[in-house]
Amino acid sequence: MLFRVDQASSVSLADQIAVQVRAGIVSGELAAGDRLPAARDLSKALRVNMHTVLRAYARLRDEGIVEMRQGRGAWVRPEANATMVRIAELAGQLAAEARKLGLSPQEVSRLVGLA
């Protein structure tokens, strides 16, 4: 799959990489079980720090989209699909809005529970 990162963009490099993995899942280019490029390889190919790629992968893991294991790389979780990605995106937006309003994570999760 194609990865593009723009050093001049206001979006962080890790976010740019994560967005493209999510887009790959939504478009069907990345299917469940597909392996993501090794962080070392991708960082060399994009000329970014390896930790940037790892940060992107770790975020996707936290969103439940990819699975990571030491020494075995990262791959798309069987549960990951377009809906999952959409929910993760919405959750991100909700968290960002809540931070702006000064809501604590507990208050946000209480609101989500009420909804």
Binding site: F3, R4, V5, D6, Q7, A8, L42, A45, L46, R47
Partner: protein, 324 residues
């Protein structure tokens, strides 16, 4: 499509002699006398004999080696289809001769009861005509290459601050099957020969099959990468780069319809000025280097890597011209 199948069938047709030798070798194991007829001065009884096990081992090794040589020649050619068909004829002839030199003497010995009583008679005819076995793969193999088709490379632009990388892992079923065939051959023919504690020819055949197996297996899992360094094809099994074309040596990249017959057949092909990894007919990436050499590889969506290579190339030359 049909051309591909015909090449494949012509290669398969190289193997029946080895299979026949192995099959009859197992079938007659208990019943065949220890020595079989090996030489006739006329159409009468044999006047020379050899150890059946030695004849079996040598003939199967020759037949299998000839068949594999035929596959390799068709697979790695700087050759025209005509030359490949000729090599199919000759490797087929060798395999056929090997089969006849095992099957006929051992069958006659089996019928007569002992080597000394085996009468050649009319069997001289198949004994002589066995070289014509090569005509079978020769006749099956297709004669003509097919014309090229062209598409324009799709546009993709990169800003100066932007980096692009494309990567794809492919499993080449073609090489997987080829590897399995070789492993099956080794198991079916060479292991029994080795277990029976027989001669160097068994080891020779085994070594050839083992090398063929490793070479083929290295092509099963491939990672293809396009980035600022250029194009790379890496074997995931051996962690070895199979092909590397630096960006500054690339003139242009195209997404084309690849036909096996245009690139010399399936597999890793090397021709004068051209090389290719053809894993099946269909779309593929074709890279033309600055010294006008071409490399092609089968890919399901070659437009993206082709576009990226062209974009990287254009940007590099823009930067070079603006700074220099």
């Amino acid at each position: 499509m049909t051309l591909r199948i015909r090449w494949a069938i012509s290669l398969v047709a190289l193997f029946p002699p080895a299979v026949a030798i192995g099959g009859t070798g197992l079938l007659w194991r208990g019943t065949l006398p220890e020595r079989i007829a090996s030489h006739w001065s006329d159409l009468g009884a044999a006047d020379g004999s050899m150890s059946a096990a030695v004849v079996l081992a040598v003939s199967i090794a020759v037949a299998a080696a000839a068949a594999i040589a035929g596959v390799v020649i068709v697979a790695l050619p700087r050759l025209t289809p005509r030359a490949k068909r000729a090599s199919l004829f000759w490797t087929g002839a060798v395999a056929g001769t090997a089969a006849a030199s095992w099957l006929i003497p051992s069958w006659l010995t089996l019928q007569a009861g002992s080597a000394g009583q085996a009468v050649l008679g009319a069997w001289i005819v198949p004994m002589v005509l066995c070289v014509l076995y090569g005509a079978i793969p020769y006749a099956i193999a297709p004669r003509t290459p097919v014309a090229d088709s062209t598409d324009g490379p799709p546009p993709l632009t990169l800003r100066a601050s932007e980096a692009g990388a494309w990567t794809r892992t492919v499993t080449a079923k073609l090489f997987l099957y080829a590897t399995l065939v070789i492993v099956a051959l080794a198991a079916a023919f060479n292991v029994p020969i080795l277990l029976s504690g027989n001669s160097g020819s068994g080891w020779f055949g085994f070594t050839i099959l083992l090398i063929a197996c490793i070479v083929l297996a290295s092509f099963v899992r491939l990672r293809i990468t396009v980035d600022w360094r250029g194009l790379r094809v890496v074997s995931l099994l051996l962690h070895l780069p199979l092909k590397r074309i630096p960006l500054n040596r690339i003139r242009r990249a195209d997404a084309l319809e690849l036909r096996a017959s245009e690139w010399g057949g399936w597999g890793y092909r090397v021709m004068p000025g051209r090389s290719a990894l053809i894993l099946g007919s269909g779309p593929g990436l074709v890279v033309t280097t600055t010294d006008d050499k071409q490399f092609a590889i089968t890919l399901t969506d070659p437009e993206i890597p082709a576009g990226l290579l062209n974009a990287l190339r254009t940007r590099d030359s823009d930067i070079a011209s603006s700074t220099g």
